[in-house]
Symmetry: C2
Subunit: 215 residues, 2 copies
């Protein structure tokens, strides 16, 4: 359940840092995100978190000022990963279609490494200022994607018959749908998944190579 | 907000069937689904529905036995649409790749025509027996898709380098993502959207024709 980035701390009753009482913020956050995803943020109280963690509410308040702060930290974990990626990709000197493919590939990486955080982000509906702020950052990211799609289309590297904004949404609709079914397993690495997404998204189900005579 | 299938009843204060007091079941259902999508099913009480409809709870109970029955009717509306489509498509004598494309195209149609119902279905997490039953039917539909993908791959019409189950999930991940952003508007018909989805999914962003020299 826990992402590779945060380790397997979520289901471990004792903290991994010896000699320190209670949980560290990282583990607290991982457990909180798991519970938010299970019960919904609004359906989770600090008392629920306290019970799940097996520590007192005041121990939680030692790390964070409120449940909302946990939400903000969790959503930023996902968003910071995406924006860090976008900054790296847009700084590259490469054709727009290549930068777009790097962005898609990297997004699958962020998603698989920070799965519970991205899941929480994608379920945010704007029910609080924290969620609204997260949705605004998501829209900003979508605009980066749409701009890349448009540039690639102007370069003649993307089919001209589909609207860039619609294309960007379909592309990330496919990427984001991974949170619904992807679960880390030995047989399925994030990289193989990124290959599959890029193969389908850029060359289509029919496949370019299959079309050129392999059958 | 209301789907084209259920008409614009959701925002109409008076029932369309003259001489009948209160709402008919169809309009009641449309309003209930809208509120479930806004507040979450668990976060909606019969008192909330009564307030939103401007009728008494007993008027609601005239039509349905419980909130759960409203949920079941709403989820079945979406699922029945998808299974009716699947039955029509699988009965066709056509290559698997063509049946798959018909299924994708038709699913976009079901989604755009019954948008609030499909939205509710895709957000169901299995929190009750009714939701679990709906999830089981969704899995059954997914298996129909995966079987078609596999058949098309055996025919050599789909690239052999991507796992059929993964492909089926990515394909419907793209389709299902429409509920996140598609809103009926004069400029954007469901058919144009189905064209865009099929263009990207089957021939890829790069596009087969663009590849053959149009630029």
């Amino acid at each position: 359940m826990a992402s590779t980035r945060v380790g397997h701390g979520a289901s471990v009753a004792r903290p991994r840092r010896r000699g320190r009482p209670g949980y560290d913020l990282e583990t607290l956050l991982a457990v909180a995100v798991t519970v938010f995803n299970e019960r919904g943020y609004d359906g989770t109280s600090m008392a629920d978190l306290s019970r799940r963690l097996g520590i007192s509410k005041s121990s939680i308040y030692h790390h964070v000022g409120s449940k909302d702060e946990l939400l903000r930290l969790a959503l930023d974990r996902a968003l910071d990963g995406l924006f860090e990626l976008a900054a790296q990709v847009t700084a590259r000197e490469a054709a727009a279609i290549e930068r777009l493919e790097l962005l898609v590939r990297g997004s699958v990486g962020v998603l698989t490494e920070a799965l519970p955080y991205v899941t929480l982000l994608l379920r945010a509906r704007g029910n609080s200022r924290t969620e609204q702020r997260a949705l605004a950052r998501r829209r900003e990211f979508d605009q980066i994607v749409a701009a890349l799609v448009k540039e690639a289309e102007q370069d003649g590297d993307i089919r001209p018959d589909v609207d860039p904004a619609v294309t960007a949404r379909l592309l990330f609709g496919m990427v984001n749908s991974l949170v619904e079914w992807y679960r880390p397993s030995p047989g399925q690495t994030g990289e193989a998944l990124a290959d599959a997404v890029c193969a389908v998204a850029f060359d289509g189900l029919r496949g370019r190579r299959a079309d050129q005579g392999s059958g």
